[in-house]
């Protein structure tokens, strides 16, 4: 239990300093209301030490101060001083500051195992992320199994599960199991101290249910892992034992420090800690934590643990070649530059899985892919043969704009002999009568108009 919090210390200091000043004013200036000034300062200072009031009042105070500041800033700028630094944009409570009150995080870090319960957008992953990255920054080995992992999301940690890759999670858990067994053997030889190893499982209801052997490992670590320096942190969406596959083993949950991420009546995030022994529940304010989503970055290389294993044959080679191939025409980014793709072949046997977690940017001009030369020739021939563009496009497909251009080229070539389909009658001198020339022209123009209308 904390002896005294910073807020309480500040409250006491405010009361003593400003209250004493007000008291001295009452003695020095009897009958004068001047004591109200330090008294008001005392009340205001004390009030700002109350988190609820601070949360409500500080934005108003900040706005009032900012309303006063611009004039000064303008004056400073006109005087040649450096322009004022713009205030940081509010981020709605998430990612506002990395500084966190130590209470919740310190309490959780003190426990051997933790179970974080929270629904979607409840702050569960954010809390797990803060814990994991803190441990990693402190030099501990942190293994993260997250079906929603993304490049850069878990800095300093060994993450698996990108794109719901359960095979990679199974592989990672297998490595942890091997480490546990190694440590157990070392302990049997007299080793008592081990470097901390944190296993963090987010969305555990999916991982435990979908990865063979995960439940056994979780149970083993929860029961006996603390002696080996192996600690478990689980994120799950509800506290039902069935969700974690622990029917009949609910006693195992008493090995965890359970923390429930909730929102209070004002919409603020709170954490409800359940004491595993006494059943006592304690409410703690959730510190402002950085949003882990902002760490996600596109990577030129697939993750090191991407599922490229298992039966990589001709299909895998073909897919990798396609992903790495540059675009046919300029304007588009190469797939391997923009996309984060993994190929998993024959797992389970006979299946091919391609996970593409990003999409290449659209080429300039809105074209998605240039027409292949063979296809372009086919459109030219269709145009030359007088086939309507709609029919040709339905038959051949491809990029519509390129196809239309190719078809028009073919059409233009055929227009040189556009009269060929219309036999010239003419007289014996080869002179076509004006009426027939006019009729031919009308037929030709009418056909073009019909085709243009069709194309449109």
């Amino acid at each position: 239990m904390t002896l005294i919090t910073t807020d309480e210390l500040a409250r006491g200091a405010c009361l003593l300093v400003f209250g004493s000043a007000a008291g001295m004013c009452t003695v020095s200036f009897p009958g004068s209301p001047i004591w109200l000034i330090p008294a008001a300062a005392a009340v205001g200072g004390c009030a700002l030490t109350v988190p609820e009031i601070r949360r409500e009042a500080l934005p108003s105070v900040t706005r009032a101060v900012r309303a006063l500041l611009p004039d000064r800033n303008r004056d400073a700028a006109t005087d040649g001083a450096a322009p004022p630094v713009p205030p940081a944009a509010p981020s709605g409570g998430r990612g506002k500051a990395d500084r966190a009150p130590p209470d919740l995080l310190a309490t959780l870090k003190d426990q051997p195992h933790r179970l974080v319960i929270g629904h979607t957008r409840g702050g569960k992953t954010t809390l797990l992320h803060k814990l994991a990255t803190d441990w990693a920054a402190a030099g501990a080995r942190v293994v993260v199994c997250d079906p929603d992992a993304a490049p850069g999301l878990w800095p300093g940690c060994e993450a698996a599960g990108h794109g719901d890759d359960r095979a990679a999670i199974a592989q990672m858990l297998h490595a942890v199991r091997a480490e546990v067994q190694t440590r157990r053997a070392q302990r049997a030889q007299g080793v008592r101290r081990f470097a901390p190893l944190h296993l963090v499982i987010d969305e555990a209801h999916d991982v435990v249910a979908g990865v063979p052997g995960a439940l056994d490992l979780v149970e083993d670590i929860a029961r006996r892992g603390a002696k080996l320096g192996v600690h478990l942190t689980i994120g799950v969406q509800d506290r039902q034992v069935k969700t974690l596959g622990l029917e009949g083993k609910s006693a195992i949950l008493s090995n965890f420090q359970t923390v429930e991420m909730l929102r209070d009546a004002d919409g603020r995030r709170i954490a409800l800690l359940h004491d595993p022994v006494t059943g006592e529940r304690r409410r703690m304010d959730v510190p402002e934590l950085p949003d882990p989503e902002r760490l996600i970055a596109r990577s030129a290389q697939p993750p090191a643990h991407a599922g490229r294993t298992g039966g990589a044959g001709a299909d895998a080679a073909l897919l990798e070649a396609l992903l790495a191939a540059p675009p046919v025409t300029g304007g588009g980014a190469a797939a391997h530059d923009a996309a984060q793709a993994t190929v998993c072949v024959d797992r389970p046997p006979g299946h091919l899985t391609v996970n593409v977690t990003a999409v290449a940017g659209a080429p300039v001009g809105g074209r998605t892919r240039a027409l292949a030369p063979a296809l372009r020739d086919a459109y030219r021939q269709a145009g030359a043969a007088g086939e309507s563009f709609r029919a040709a496009y339905r038959r051949l497909g491809g990029n519509r704009n390129d196809a239309l251009a190719a078809w028009r080229q073919g059409r233009a070539v055929s227009s040189v002999s556009s009269c060929a389909p219309f036999p010239l009658s003419g007289n014996e001198n080869g002179v076509i009568p004006a009426s027939e020339r006019h009729e031919n022209a009308l037929r030709s123009c009418g056909r073009e108009r019909r085709e243009n209308a069709e194309n449109a």
Binding site: M1, T2, L3, I4, T5, E8, R11, L15, L16, F18, G19, S20, A22, G23, M24, T26, V27, G31, W35, A39, A42, V43, C46, A47, V50, E52, I53, E56, D103, D264, I270, L272, R281, R282, R283, M284
Partner: protein
């Protein structure tokens, strides 16, 4: 359980939580036998006797004096109200009403300090803090006068006055309330003739 009640409180906050003292005193005195109850009543009665003059002089009387101006300004209105009440109800409520209002001015800060020491409602927090500061300011005069007799050093005098003022404005009344609670429940235990609880064992 209310979420606000589940907050982990610091030692300092729990130290000021007079309500929990009162509950603990009531629980401790509920099953007292006559002899311990009598002992508790006597001991805590002596403590109360020692603290009451301090509280009256340095807290109640000083606040009373400080609010004299306020009472003087409000007195005509209050007397008029009491006069009307007498004429309507034909009851001698005037003196009672006046006494209640005058005493209310004085006791209000102390009552707020005692009633809401750990409340987490923003408005009540503000009222509580204002009460504490007001009580502290009103108690300063007499506390500083006493502290001036302890030392000639001006700075040290301020420090002494601040500490003593904090003690008489917050500490004394908290201890006093606890002592009075123990006395009340001790007397009740004496009147009941001691503990009346039995332990039952149910055997299936």
């Amino acid at each position: 359980m209310n979420a606000y009640d589940m907050i982990q409180q610091s030692c300092f906050t729990r130290l000021l939580d007079v309500r929990s003292y009162v509950l603990a005193a009531r629980a401790a005195c509920a099953r007292l036998d006559p002899a311990p109850a009598l002992f508790m009543v006597v001991v805590f009665g002596l403590i109360t006797l020692a603290l009451t003059p301090i509280w009256v002089v340095f807290d109640l009387a000083s606040t009373w004096e400080f609010t004299t101006g306020l009472r003087t300004a409000a007195a005509p209105v209050i007397y008029e109200m009491s006069g009307r009440a007498e004429s309507v109800l034909d009851l001698p409520v005037g003196a009672l009403l006046t006494g209640i209002i005058f005493t209310g001015f004085t006791l209000l800060p102390s009552l707020f300090e005692l009633a809401f020491p750990t409340v987490r409602h923003p408005l009540l927090n503000l009222v509580l803090l204002a009460s504490i500061v007001f009580d502290y300011v009103t108690d300063w005069g007499k506390a500083a006068a006493l502290a001036a007799t302890w030392t000639a050093n001006r700075a040290l005098e301020v420090v002494y006055a601040a500490a003593f003022c904090l003690f008489v404005s917050v500490g004394v009344q908290a201890i006093l309330v606890c002592c009075i609670t123990v006395i009340i429940f001790g007397v009740l235990a004496l009147l009941r003739g001691g503990a009346r609880s039995v332990r039952a064992v149910v055997i299936e």
